[in-house]
Structures are given as C-alpha cells and as structure tokens.
Subunit: 159 residues, 3 copies
Amino acid sequence: MTDKKLAIIATKGTLDWAYPPFILSSTAAALGYEVQVFFTFYGLQLLKKKLDLKVSALGNPGMPMPMKMDKWFPVLGTALPGMESMMTFMMKRKMKAKGIASIEELRSLCLEADVKLIGCQMTVDLFDLSRDDFIDGIEYGGAGMFFEFAGDSDVCLFV
Amino acid sequence: MTDKKLAIIATKGTLDWAYPPFILSSTAAALGYEVQVFFTFYGLQLLKKKLDLKVSALGNPGMPMPMKMDKWFPVLGTALPGMESMMTFMMKRKMKAKGIASIEELRSLCLEADVKLIGCQMTVDLFDLSRDDFIDGIEYGGAGMFFEFAGDSDVCLFV
Amino acid sequence: MTDKKLAIIATKGTLDWAYPPFILSSTAAALGYEVQVFFTFYGLQLLKKKLDLKVSALGNPGMPMPMKMDKWFPVLGTALPGMESMMTFMMKRKMKAKGIASIEELRSLCLEADVKLIGCQMTVDLFDLSRDDFIDGIEYGGAGMFFEFAGDSDVCLFV
C-alpha cells in the first residue's frame, strides 16, 4: 500500500468523458491512494442522481472509429438528427458487452473505496441546481477547499 | 499563506473553456500560490487584446443543459445556423446575472495578483500573429521555459 | 540535465490534439526528463502504424481562426460535408509550411529520445484491436502500471 494522494478536477459532462475520472479514481484507490475528485463546470452533472449522459461524436473524429461507424456513414454523418442517441446507445452496449461497469456502478465503487467526491458549490448555484439533484455521500465546496488537498497531492489531473 | 506553486498549460480557445484557467489561477493566487500560465495552441487566443470567444455547444451534450436549451430544441438543434451565437449570448448573460466576472475581468485580476501569463512564441509564429495582438504585461516563451517552472510546481494542470 | 520525471495520459484521438503529448514529451526529454506517456481511450489511436487523424473544427470555435476560415464561411459552415477533410488538409499544410514536424516524425523523435510509450491494454481490448495495429517499440499496460511512474513524477498531465 501507499500513502500517496490523487486529486482530480472533473470538468466534462458527456458519457465518454465520464469514464476517465471514475476509472482513474477507483484504480488509484485500489492501489491505496487517498483520492479526492472535484466536480465542477459541466463535470458537476456526473454527480446527479439521474444521469442522462450522452456521447457526442461531433467534434471528435476519434470517436466513430471504435464502433466502425465511419464505415457506415460519411465523415459528417454524425451530424444527422438522431445520430447522437444512436452513438450513445451503441457505446453503452459496447461497454456492457466488454464487461466494463456503467458510470453509476463506477461511481458507487468510488464511494465504497472512500474516494471523496466534491460538488462545486459555485457551479450548483450557477446552474440553478439543488442539492436534492445529487447523490448522497458527497461533499460540497469551492476551488479553495480543493487546493488544500491538491496542493499536497502526488498526482493532480484536470480531466 | 503558502509558498506553493501552480503551473497551468491553457490550450483551449472557447468562451466556456476560458474560465477554468483564469478562475483556478486567481483562486490559487489569492491563497498565496505563485502561479504561471502558459498559453499555447488554441489557448493563445485568451491573451488577445480583442477577445472574440464563442461557446460551442456542438460536441458537448453537457452544454445545453444549464441553459435549459435542450428543452427548447432537439438534441442536434445546436447545429442550426445562428445557434452558436445565441448560446454565446446566453452564456454571457447567465454569467453576468450570477455575478461572475467576465473573462476580461478575470484576466486583469490575474495580472493584478501577479500571476505570470506567458504566450507561446511558437504558436504566435504558427498562427502568423504579432505581439501587438496581445495584451500588455505578459511574457513570451516556449515549452522549455515553462518546464523550468512546472518541474518545481506543486500542482500542474493541462487545461 | 535533470533527474525529473514527466508523466502524460494521452486521451484524444484527433490530429490537432495529437501534437501536445508528443511536443511536450520530446521537449521534456531534451531537457533530460524521464518521460512516460500512457495512451488510453481515444488517444490509443496515436500509436497506430497507419495514422488517419483528422482535425475537427466542430465544437471548437477556436479552430477556424488560425486558418482564417471564419472569414470565408459562416460560423457553422464547418458543419458542411467535406469541411472536415479540408480543415485537416489545411492544418497539415500549415504545419509543414511552418517547419513543424508531422505526428509520425514527432512520435519517432520521442522513441529515439527514450520516451516510454505505453498502450492501454484495456482500450486495445475494448476497441477489438490487435497489437499488430500498433508501431513497434512501445509497451502495453494498465492504469495501475502507469500510476507506479506517475505517483513519483514531478509533472503529470491529462491531455
């Protein structure tokens, strides 16, 4: 085991970019790291009770490839109406087929492993959200609070 | 106060992604951190005198939510002509209504707090820009110069 | 020279976002850093033998500017069919004209400078890829293996 610390700032609110913070956190926790994740900006969505995350193939030419979608549609076929929902459906099915946990499962795993999940209070206020919208077991704070931990961390990532 | 150091590599050139480097820098500076931000790639735009930053909802399903735009338009309605300008307008108004400083104000705040803002000279050359395009009070350098500071930093973020 | 360490997690699979990990790695290696880059998620594509990376202007209003494309097309002209290929072509030509190495060249440079390039085995499996798809001289491992190095690094970046 180790006494190292991992700090993550999670800023993205899409299905695909939801994986890195939770996978890195749970992996580090399993290695004995003390982990804190600060969810701010679009990333705050990852703490909502009811997750409604979507993959966006738009703006990411690296996305279609895994599903071989690029062989079925022209480069910008991903801009067609309905395509976003279809990509989201396909990604979820792919992850499940490969035995990779869902975001909800990874998030629970992190809480069970004592990863501290912190919602950015400023973002909660900015988006007119309420603490009722978020899962239990998390904390709330600001960037200042986060720096207290991050400043002493061994690894700090802006995801 | 602290003698800690924060190093940031700012690489994005959109209105929404302009906030994190300036908010994190000014927060850290207020906590007593020595801060340097290296603006490179698309991020170099954040140092221009005349900022013309836009939000892009495209490729970011996490974006429409805050403004409730997703209730007014179908998922890919954001690809309609004129939508980008509308999103940009709405985000600016939202930030103002919530009492959050503009990018110009946050940038000035950083300079006043002695945050060192460094423009990437290679990017200036790549994009055929001139130093006249940028605000006063900044420095210019390359990745090598940045590593001198980053290598001794307590927190280093690629934003 | 230095005995410092740089750890990078490369997660993006587009032409534009392929530059930062390779430029930062080769620069740090030239400064004497020991460097390891962990290619995971979309970033795994950067290790393929046959690179087919594209720029995506979609979702990045900061992109059109450098090429002055925004003066030729309306804001969302970048969503037109064929535009992505054109942007990719223009970016490659621009980089070449400015004497900036191609991704293939930068990647070779990194290997020659003893930068350790690690492909994420979980991502290889997820995307049904084979080790034959990737260049020689790289290693394979998981996030756990990467933390061994990252936990002792002086600079760690999520790109």
